[in-house]
Subunit: 486 residues, 2 copies
């Protein structure tokens, strides 16, 4: 089973991918696909005839000049401009409408660019150490032999101590072709060792595929991690391959998928929603609603289910609700609830420098439902095992027999989840919990003292990460496979 | 000795004056007095020739129109206008530059207006009850017989329970000539009783005067509470009267005075700063400094001292620092530290509706010092007695022998301050503290149990308020009088 980044996000403090994704997903715009004659007319040059508007603009100008000419302090060139735009956007109380000035745009593009070049490994911060979660297939990280749970201590002889994950990732990333030397600590090795990697382009896979056999039926599983420019093509390729393999059922997994480009999800829905039902409706600021249709004659001949969770947002929800309303099962937990579409509009004299991202549209489900702030309800509710959601164990003090503590509760949930049954998870460290800890320590070559110190807590957490990654207890996927053939 | 409002503010949670002051002082602008040819030129109609500025204004216009035309939600008429102005002002990070829209201005004027009409009593919230601190001389409150410590339970049959002081004051205030019925609870009366008052104009005294004899020398004390439009005239009248009485020394008290109009303090300084020294310097945004001089030939023939505290701001500091730099003693604690001058500029097509208050100038002391964020250091440091600064006693639980509690500390400081020496103020309720409580209870007709319950705490606090009001332990004033004749 594929490693599930989203589950790790629930479990670990932060999970990052070096040379892959990064901040990109968070900032992408769900852009509407508009036909030529629907192209949005941005009134950049047109003089408004609206009196109120002209009066207001005149007043803003007065205020601008008053402040610019008379304020006692220094005023930077773009300070009032940016203040005015930020101020106008703030009145909307819309978390998705925002402004990026030239500098922010530059950083943003640099970040995207650098996120495609690097060593190719997913890392997270565990117990204050930058830790490899998984090297990406065929990446420099994999080729150099980096393994899950390796701790990176130094980068080019600079210690990562005290840096946060973002800062550490910045140091590890870099241009294609450049060398980076990592000092790596591996469990089991007594001494840290150095690895030299040559940074490279990192293949961006937004769609991951596998097959599983359920009751003798070959079933495809497509995991869409984000909706980027390449996603719909990747998805089509994956679907083609699976159909060539004669799958008898399909699971589409959009858990933890924050959305992305509207184009991308529109292309994907062409394969599933028949032409008699809109696959999507778009409502503009004036309340005008457009319905969008595919040219698809009929549904796929095989059953399909979709998996969502609370991290599935925007484009993921467009997919989930459309599939639900045309009769497919949707398994998991209620999705995030983002029902709006933003458009990034360059602004100012130098059009490619600053950008306003504005909420232009609502999107509605095929039946016209607006899921904003509500989310998509699954048809089949299924949570992951409790220990997937447990917080990391804080071990400032050693946890031991007869104590009562919230951290003990976390440990009990995790221990039980990974097969060391504590029989209780109320945070009281009783004899049974002590026995479970001892058994765990025995199995993991730790000093068998029945106390949860830093090493034991780390080992428990790593075991949980391992289980989440292996997907062995992925109840949502199990359920999604199960409902296919009922 | 005059009742000192500022001290009460330190002691009680809030102190308000019904039909007097109110929010007015807080919002007043320290306006520069400009000669005709220095009148600020506000470029309302002039077209700017600055390219950067025009470009920026064009970009703001684009953003305005983009949001106005395309945002999916409703946008109110003035929403973007106000957002833009607020946004520009926010970039200044200046707490004194602000914007008031038409509605805010209307509320502001109504508040000022209503603050001049009412029953004329200072009130505060004590133990959850609206309590009369002092009726103003010749006011409806005084004529009707309201007394200090009276609790107001109902206004026109509406209970004040659960209202905050602001809300309660709103109910009590009203137009001149209107009747209001108060249900009053007085200590010593078993039943609350009704009083009917006719609201009236309340005389606004911003300057209070008295005389005291020090070592046989008649000494004038002028207390300036704020610098309003009438203040300089009131001050001149007060000074004339005192000089006719042949005072041999003068104390000017600006403790707790938050400032006000620049005109006002300029007029007052004409009486004290001789013509050879500037009484004030004003620096504009371009760094140009103007020095302002009086026509005064020589200093007053009698010694003068000024009292300041941490609540003395703006115009009060202009006074204090000028007096200090021409050689007078300044007694008290370091002042607030506001060294800027704001100008209120009406803005928009309807010029009297919305206003930008902008920091136009720095003011500097006669010698050119800028006291902003630093304050004026007194030449003679003097704090008030410790119990003036004590917090009210919270008596959720009864405080008693052998307990240790921060509230007991407050009580010990107060008891000792009002003459019941607890010998310690570390918050431990020992036998000596119990004895002091018993003695206090004996003297105040309370059950003599040595415990601080709600009634005892209230009585202690009232006694403290009484002492602060009577000025019997006003160490700062004592010191200011003392330094005059040294």
């Amino acid at each position: 089973m594929t490693f599930k980044k989203r589950d790790l996000i629930l479990f670990l403090v932060i999970t990052f991918v070096i040379g892959f994704l990064g901040a990109y997903t968070g900032l992408k715009v769900l852009q509407p696909k508009l036909s030529k004659n629907e192209q949005i007319e941005i009134p950049f040059t047109k003089e408004s005839t609206d009196n109120q508007l002209n009066e207001n603009l005149q007043t803003i100008k007065e205020a601008y000049e008053l402040i610019d000419h008379h304020y006692i302090g220094d005023i930077e060139d773009d300070q009032l401009l940016e203040g005015a735009i930020q101020g106008m956007l703030e009145t909307l109380n819309d978390p998705y409408s925002s402004y990026m000035n030239a500098e922010a745009m530059k950083r943003f593009y640099e970040q995207i660019e650098s996120s495609f070049q690097g060593i190719g490994a997913e890392v997270s911060m565990v117990e204050g150490k930058v830790t490899i979660v998984a090297p990406i297939k065929d990446s420099p990280a994999e080729k150099a032999g980096l393994r899950p749970n390796d701790q990176i201590l130094k980068v080019d002889d600079e210690s990562l101590d005290g840096l946060d994950l973002n800062e550490a990732v910045e140091k590890i990333r870099g241009e294609k072709g450049s060398e980076v030397v990592l000092l790596v600590q591996r469990k089991g090795s007594s001494q840290p060792f150095e690895l030299t990697l040559v940074r490279d382009d990192i293949p961006i896979e937004t769609v991951l595929t596998e097959t599983e056999t359920v009751d003798g039926k070959k079933t495809g599983i497509i995991d869409i991690r984000t909706f980027s420019e390449t996603t719909s093509q990747e998805f089509e390729d994956a679907l083609d391959t699976l159909e060539e393999e004669d799958i008898e059922g399909l699971v589409i997994d959009v858990r933890g998928n924050p959305g992305g480009l509207l184009d991308s999800i529109e292309d994907i829905l062409q394969h599933f929603v028949p032409q008699d039902t809109p696959y999507l409706q778009i409502e503009d600021g004036q309340g005008k609603v457009d319905k969008y249709y595919t040219k698809l004659k009929e549904k796929k001949p095989y059953p399909i289910s979709v998996i969502i969770d609370e991290g599935s947002a925007s484009a993921s929800e467009i997919l989930a609700v459309a599939m639900k309303e045309i009769g497919y099962e949707v398994v998991g937990t209620t999705s995030f609830g983002k029902g709006t579409v933003q458009q990034a509009v360059p602004i100012g004299s130098n059009k490619d420098e600053s950008t306003i991202k504005l909420t232009f549209f609502k999107w509605l489900s095929p039946e016209g439902n607006w899921i904003n702030e509500v989310g998509v309800e699954p048809t089949v509710k299924q949570k992951q095992p409790e220990f997937f959601y447990a917080s990391p164990i804080q071990t400032e003090d050693v946890l031991q027999f007869d104590q009562t503590d919230e951290q003990i509760e976390n440990a009990q949930v995790m221990l039980t989840g990974i097969g060391y049954d504590t029989k209780r998870d109320d945070g009281y460290f009783d004899e049974q919990t002590e026995a479970a800890v001892k058994e765990f320590q025995q199995d993991h070559d730790l000093p068998v003292n029945g106390e949860i110190d830093e090493d034991t807590a780390y080992a428990i957490e790593m075991e949980v990460v391992e289980i989440i990654r292996d997907g062995k207890q992925d109840l949502q996927l199990e359920k999604a496979l199960e409902v296919l053939y009922q």
